[in-house]
């Protein structure tokens, strides 16, 4: 988490993916997750500079569906907040 805070300070234009409003696009700038969760993100093609679009919130606001490399992927806020993006 400390690392997270550093990154925020360095680049205040980066936001966690979970903050991206629906309908907006962004580019991945840093992947903070570790271990299995990180692997899963990588497998889906979520690497640096990947374009993502927040498509649709679920009825209770979490999870959110994102468009990643042509596929629609739902992520819970825990995973999405570990992905730092730059809004486009």
């Amino acid at each position: 988490m400390k690392q997270n805070a550093d990154l925020y300070m360095k680049h205040d234009q980066f936001i966690p993916l979970s903050f991206l409003p629906t309908g907006k696009k962004a580019r991945v700038r840093a992947l903070m997750s570790k271990g299995i969760s990180r692997r899963r993100m990588l497998d889906l093609g979520l690497i640096l500079d990947t374009e993502v679009e927040a498509l649709q919130k679920s009825p209770f606001g979490d999870p959110v569906a994102y468009l990643v490399r042509g596929a629609v992927i739902a992520l819970r806020s825990e995973e999405a907040s570990d992905i730092l993006v730059e809004a486009m």
């Binding site: 009825p59 490399r69 042509g70 629609v72 992927i73």
Partner: protein
């Protein structure tokens, strides 16, 4: 979803990754690919078999095999679970990887989705690192065309260095070509591929580390596994692969001196370059993903970028804040309403026919002068139970099932999981548990096998234990019959089935709530833990093949229920008949048993006969109500089936009140899983302890809730 041998798991567990060839010259072909790209559909079209397919990722969780014959060669095709990568993050990914690596396939067909080629290419590139004997099948070409996506297959083939075939597996287009290519690949001498399969070059330090390990690995692996790929995995720290090598090749790779020396040196190179294991993996994955992106840019042409706008619009309604949940419940209600309404007519028809046959049989037995006990055992006991199961239980099962399959094929199930996920998260459970729960509607055993899509063992156990809280197909008719007899009967006319459907929906929602509650309790007590990471792909909506699904699953279901009726209901009917006709000390055996169970049964709002029926119904839930009827009838009043109204009279004469009806419904919703499900749980968890817990948890919940209901009703003087 379904209840064949395959889906209930018996085909899975005998699986050894080394599949035996049935004929000496037979070629083994593996079908790999991302989830939900149509692998099972390709499999079915080629082999003429009927693996279950469905529009959601994770439909197939085990390995199935089937054979086909092409140009004079026998092929054995192996359908493996869909995976996003070969890096084995979950059980079924491990199964897939092990088969490709150690199953010794002569060729691998990598099935890809033409509408999402870029992401699919990741896996293609990874498979190419393991083996060059690959044919890439670009499936769903028809769907891509509809969405105005064009793919240059020739260019793709040139870039990948392997053959590419475009198919529309559902209509069978392009499969001949695919088989030709498979034939060609398996008949080339190894090593002399035309062109060479694409190999990705990574960061310099990675390449030199790998280069350093290759010679020692080549010697150690003796062509059983690609040395370059193994080096990459070892450097990445893939413990799981080492374990598989130990299992299948029989030795510990890193225990070999040459390998471990070169491994240490290679590690040093990486450390000097500042590359730790996480970064290493990032480099590998980025290399693959970038390559896929580059290839996709060159071969995919989209005429209009908004090709999914329709799907987005549908999603905006089906998963919206206001409408998401109500539509879901309404959809369930409508399906149940169609089931109830639709079942009435065939049910009456079947009953007429079957009980007419009974009369004829009785006449026959009389005319040949057969002894009364023989007639009793075979006709009154066995045949009549069978007739009850077929006439009352079969029609709702045969109608509900195809409807559910239709929704599944449309792609609605992942949306259900998406809508419900926040509840499951609060229960500290996995979001995909909603999917396994949905499969439970078809069959709890299938639902339990489906739990493999959940990677974390803790959450998988929660999903397994709670699966039987959703009523399976075999329990629906019980619920429907009781609702129709005791509650909807108060009003006449077309609204009757609406009331029934509403009540049944309520019962199911109660089951879902119990699932969540019990999951929550489990994650606070014996299965403590936090929710693990979760990603869920929402596939595009696809037009289901309505006619084919309806006919097929109707037939499947009917045959299945008939088979089970013969195997289970018939013997159980004989047992009940025998028990009610063998007398000890002036009372029948049945009365003894029922009497023994009675005090306890009364406490939870039922009677001894009902509990007996539930116990005898352990092998199949659909025989519970028929057994109750049989045991009441045997204690005196004989009756013919005319309508559910008459049945109600019989039950009322035996002391049923509305409270009994409610308790039977609750207990039917929550009691021990059927024997097939228990055995499946044992196989899946490999533990009797968890099987026992899965048996006890719903049973305890049912007893407790029935007890509370009965006590409260009695205290309030309602019953």
């Amino acid at each position: 979803m379904g209840l064949t041998k395959q889906s209930t798991g018996s085909s899975v567990l005998g699986f050894k990754p080394h599949i035996e060839r049935q004929h000496p010259g037979q070629k083994i072909i593996a079908l790999a690919g991302n989830p939900n790209v149509g692998k099972s559909t390709v499999f079915n079209s080629l082999t003429g078999m009927r693996q279950h397919t469905g529009n959601w990722p994770g439909k197939t969780v085990s390995i199935a095999q089937g054979s086909f014959f092409h140009k004079g060669v026998h092929f054995l095709l192996v359908d493996i679970p869909g995976t996003y990568s070969l890096m084995a993050n979950s059980v079924e990914e491990g199964v897939a990887r092990d088969f490709i690596c150690f199953g010794d396939p002569d060729a691998v067909i990598v099935v890809t989705d033409a509408t999402c080629l870029e992401r699919n290419l990741n896996l293609v590139l990874q498979v190419l690192e393991v083996t060059g004997n690959v044919v890439v099948c670009v499936n769903l070409i028809d769907d891509a065309r509809r969405r105005k996506i064009r793919i240059d297959l020739e260019e793709l083939s040139r870039l990948l260095g392997v053959t590419v075939a475009g198919t529309s597996a559902r209509s069978g287009k392009g499969l001949d070509r695919l088989m030709d290519e498979v034939w060609t690949v398996t008949h080339e001498k190894p090593g002399c591929c035309r062109g060479s399969p694409l190999k990705i070059r990574y960061h310099e330090a990675v390449e030199s580390a790998v280069g350093l390990m290759e010679p020692s690995l080549e010697a150690a692996l003796n062509k059983k596994l690609c040395a370059r790929w193994t080096a990459l995995r070892l450097l990445e720290g893939d413990e799981n692969l080492l374990e598989s090598i130990r299992n299948y090749l029989g030795y510990d790779l890193l225990a070999l001196e040459a390998v471990s020396n070169s491994f240490q040196k290679a590690r040093k190179i990486l450390i000097d370059a500042g590359i730790d294991q996480d970064l290493f993996r990032d480099i590998i994955v980025s290399g693959i993903v970038r390559k896929a992106e580059e290839i996709s840019r060159r071969v995919v042409a989209m005429e209009e970028p908004g090709h999914y706008t329709r799907d987005r619009k549908i999603d905006r309604v089906l998963t919206s804040r206001t409408w998401g949940i109500p539509i879901m419940i309404a959809m369930l209600g409508v399906i149940l309403w169609i089931t109830i309404t639709g079942a009435n007519y065939p049910s009456a028809l079947l009953a007429d026919a079957l009980f007419w046959v009974e009369d004829q049989m009785t006449a026959l037995f009389l005319s040949i002068g057969a002894p009364a006990w023989l007639h009793g055992l075979l006709v009154t006991g066995m045949y009549r139970t069978l007739a009850w199961v077929v006439s009352v239980m079969l029609p709702p099962m045969a109608i509900f099932f195809p409807l559910f399959t239709l929704l599944e094929d449309l792609g609605y199930l992942p949306r259900v999981a998406f809508n419900l996920d926040s509840f499951f998260k609060k229960a500290c459970a996995h979001g995909k548990q909603a999917l396994t729960m949905c499969m439970g509607f078809g069959c709890n055993a299938a639902g339990v096998v489906g739990c493999r899509i959940i990677d974390s063992p803790r959450e998988r156990l929660i999903a397994t234990i709670t699966n039987s809280f959703v009523p399976c197909n075999g329990r629906f008719p019980t619920l429907i019959a009781i609702i129709t007899m005791f509650f909807a009967g108060i009003i006449e006319g077309p609204f009757r089935s609406v009331i029934s459907a509403l009540m049944l929906t309520g019962v199911i929602l109660l089951g879902v709530m119990m699932t969540l509650l019990v999951s929550r309790i489990l994650s606070r007590t014996i299965l403590k833990g936090l929710p693990s990471s979760f990603t869920l792909e929402l596939p595009p909506y696809r037009k289901p093949q309505v006619g084919r699904i309806l006919v097929r699953s109707l037939l499947d279901r009917t045959l299945f229920v008939l088979g089970r009726a013969v195997a289970v209901a018939a013997p159980a009917g004989m047992v009940i008949w025998a028990m009610s006709n063998i007398h000890i000390g002036g009372l029948s055996l049945l009365s003894h048993c029922a009497g023994f169970l009675d005090p306890f049964a009364r406490l939870i709002g039922m009677d001894g006969c009902i509990i007996m029926a539930f116990i005898l119904g352990f092998p199949a839930n659909e025989i519970v109500i028929p057994l109750v009827i049989m045991s009441y009838m045997s204690t005196g009043s004989m009756m013919e089936f005319e309508s559910l109204v008459r049945l109600r009279e019989l039950l009322a004469a035996n002391g049923w009140t509305w409270l009994t009806a409610v308790c039977v419904m609750l207990f039917s919703l929550m009691h021990w899983p059927c024997s097939t499900t228990c055995l499946t749980i044992r196989k899946e968890t490999q533990s009797w302890k968890w099987t026992l817990i899965s048996f006890l948890v719903p049973t305890a919940a049912g007893i407790l809730i029935c007890f509370i209901t009965a006590s409260v009703a009695r205290l309030l003087g309602l019953s």
